[in-house]
Amino acid sequence: MSNELDKHIGETLGRYESSVDAEALWQAVKPPRKRKPWLWLLLLAGVIAVAGGLWSWSAMKQQDQVVEGDSPMVDHTVLFTEKDATFTIPESGEEVASTSVQESAVSEMPDAMSISSGTEKVKELPPATPTNKATEEKEIAANGNTVNDKNSTTLTKPMKLEVNQSVVDLSKEKTTVNSSDQNEEPVVVLSSLSESRQLDTEPNTETVPVLVAPAIETLVFGPEFTEEKEELTIATPVASAYRRSKNSPFFAQIDVAYFDLQRKLENKDSLNWDWASERTNSEQLLEGLSADLSFGYRSRSGWQFRGGIGYTQLNTLFASTVTTQTVDTVQGLTMLVYNPDNSVDSIFGSVAYYETTTRQKQTYNSIRQWELPLLAGYNFELGRLSLLVEAGVRLRLNRNWEGIVFNQDLGNNFQDLSTTDWYRTGLDLGLQGGIHLAYPIRPQIDILAGGSVRYNLQDFSGDNSPFTERYQLLGGQLGLRYRF
């Protein structure tokens, strides 16, 4: 008999499947989904890194522009045709600058013949002062065009030389003016020139005037630049670089945004109104987070157009506390009977005991979307600031979701959203608008801050969803715009 019993039990129970609420069990054992704030921190770090890189690159580019593009290269010989004189300038950028400055003062030079002949020393001048007083039109500064103009300058009049401190320092240089006839047109040695001073070539009764140069025939700018670059404290290039960079119509922009969520949630089936209500009560709207990378074109008139790729995540928090009470019975003492003879009878029977279980569940739900933003805007210039008003569309390319909500029975049963097809996955369209203030933190980089609103034209829910569900977003946005 024992063998019969063992065999029957073994065969029956060995493959028997008990009835179990597997969905509830899954919800109970499901590993908690970890929120990943580090993703956003990583994204923010990436934005900062990109901005820093662009900043550094922009700064390096400006330095290169100063040295290479804006440094005047000149020949070293200036011919004074009227008196067949040669004005020789040593090889250095500084002298080139000085020459250009001299040129600016040509009109002031009364007459070359008034310059005294003979080899004279220029009177001692006070040391340079760093007052950046540039001769404006002929300033070599950072504009190549200006330099080119100078390259072909032909001076036909006697000149008065003026050396401007902002451009050059010739204090260590020596300029020699050779005359074809040294008796009449002596060599003038500029032994000490320094900034912010005027080199007066007019006759001086006490100190002999400087140059005996009736006219400068040509100034030819050469290709070499051999002097120390650090001495070339040419007028600040930032302004011109900024002007040049602003001329570029193309730009790249990175935006991050934080949105407040507005949700419209209704049951499709009017009989299930409790479900949407329960979901509203158990699911707290948290926030929408978004990041965009876009490229655009900005016209001179202020209009701009941009498009790129965007990621948006809508977060909610599902929390439930379910208390269940089960009743079980055990055999126990139910009554004591005290008899008149002082004996006691114990009466045993079924005793009910209650077991109360409280289960708390908390899960972060999310809807994640990849989108294609296409935006048009207009920039209002407000001095250094500019106000960008833009609007456009966001074409949703992809959507996925994760999380749980209460199941339809509204008990201690949950619905795993990731296993449902409750949301649309195809292409979708939304509108976006925003107002941003832009401030140039570098000549080519603007930082933007402002507000943004996104309006979804269609419900998020698909045909199989028991709900109609749609989210609208309103929030703040930060961005960096790099103009190429």
Partner: protein, 183 residues
């Protein structure tokens, strides 16, 4: 979705596969847990804990043996560990003398799975564990002794007494059914 796909998905921590594992194996593992526990509530707790352990330990699972067998061992171990050991030993030492009833084979064959589980759940812990390990799982007494930390002889005696107790309960049940039917 094959078993191998489910296992690999679980090893990658994918919720989709973890859920598939729960849905596929929870009914049969619930039976295992119910056989070793006093009631279904305790069995649910054991099963829940078992799946949590499985998700944590599935990286260590080698696909050389039966996955269901591996899962079953986890459930059994947890069920055995969940018991109050002190109570367990008290029950072992406080055994009453059981007569040797005889149950007709046709009566045994008529018992369904739920009835059998209910009967097994009424066995004292010690009887129940030995009976399950020997009759259903197929362990030898030496293995049972090692698992439960008892002597092999104790395992044998527990098994005999468990059978006797079961037969007595079956007879009692049959008697009550008969009384209800007749009168």
């Amino acid at each position: 979705m094959t078993e191998s796909e489910i296992i690999r998905g679980c090893q990658r921590g994918k919720a989709k596969y973890q859920k598939a594992l729960v849905l596929r194996y929870s009914p049969i593992m619930m039976t295992v847990a119910r056989r070793y526990c006093r009631d279904d509530h305790a069995a649910k707790d054991v099963l829940q804990e078992a799946f949590i352990r499985v998700f944590r330990a599935i990286d260590r699972y080698q696909e050389t043996g039966s996955f269901a067998g591996w899962l079953r061992r986890i459930v059994i171990n947890l069920a055995l560990q969940s018991k109050d050991k002190a109570s367990y030993h008290r029950e072992q030492t406080g055994l009453e003398e059981i007569t040797h009833p005889l149950v007709a084979p046709n009566v045994v064959q008529q018992l369904g799975a739920e009835e059998l589980i209910a009967l097994i759940q009424q066995l004292p812990d010690g009887f129940r564990d030995v009976f399950n390990l020997y009759v259903v799982e197929g362990y030898a007494h030496d293995e049972i002794a090692e698992i439960l930390g008892i002597a092999p002889g104790t395992s044998r005696s527990q098994l005999v007494r468990a059978r006797q107790k079961l037969q007595a309960m079956i007879l009692q049940q049959e008697k009550e059914t008969y009384v209800k039917r007749v009168g």
